[in-house]
């Protein structure tokens, strides 16, 4: 799963530590999500979406966008 967390954070001049505090997670977790090493749970993704005022799919998206339409993973 890819995400735009780093870009969205940079646009707002937030540090990883500030974002981590706002989402109630560790800075390590924010870094791991931004670098694609860790996929967040749905509740955490919803919290991030609420914080940025966006829909989840505007932040997180499948690496293979055709997989949903075709049903093939």
């Amino acid at each position: 799963m890819k995400n735009r967390l780093k870009v969205l954070r940079a646009e707002r001049n937030w540090t990883q530590a500030e974002l981590a505090d706002a989402l109630d997670v560790s800075r390590q977790t924010i870094n791991a999500i931004e670098t694609g090493k860790f996929d967040p749970s749905l509740p955490l993704a919803f919290r991030a979406a609420r914080l940025f005022g966006l829909h989840i799919e505007e932040i997180f998206h499948d690496e293979d966008p055709g997989s949903l339409a075709t049903g093939i993973k």
């Binding site: 001049n13 937030w14 505090d21 997670v25 390590q28 977790t29 791991a32 860790f38």
Partner: protein
């Protein structure tokens, strides 16, 4: 720049508090275990009553330590829970895989000393530390 709202009792301060609490319980359990192990010979001349009291204290403090550990893990965030549980799984696996052959080697006198439970605890502790550090490094 948009200002972020962060709570006073944020994740970091909560984890620091829980870590200190867990360290306190671990220290208390260690002290109770030392008392239980060495008290009978050194302090109360092997009196069964005092030994039973020391065992009861050790079990009670151990139960508190288990609950503190559970609270600590439940309050970790999802990535840190994953790292912790991976380390715990590796530790349990190593304990079983290494513990049984070690016991068999003692049984058939392949090793020139007794297989003590403390050896297994030491192995488990080291395995957990290495696994936890590896997990932390992997997601750094």
């Amino acid at each position: 720049m948009n200002q972020l709202k962060t709570s006073e009792n944020g994740y970091r301060s909560r984890i620091c508090t829980n870590t200190r609490r867990l360290a306190g319980w671990n220290g208390a359990w260690l002290a109770a275990t030392v008392l239980m192990k060495f008290g009978p010979k050194s302090l109360w001349n092997q009196s069964s009553v005092f030994t039973l009291l020391a065992v009861g204290l050790d079990v009670a403090v151990g139960a508190g330590m288990i609950l503190a550990t559970k609270k600590y893990v439940m309050e970790l965030d999802e990535l840190q829970q994953k790292v912790y549980l991976n380390a715990l799984g590796t530790t349990a696996g190593v304990a079983v895989v290494a513990g049984v052959p070690y016991s068999v080697m003692d049984l058939y006198h392949v090793i020139p000393f007794h297989a003590e439970i403390s050896h297994l605890l030491l192995l488990m502790g080291l395995t957990f530390i290495v696994s936890f550090l590896y997990g932390t490094w992997r997601y750094r």
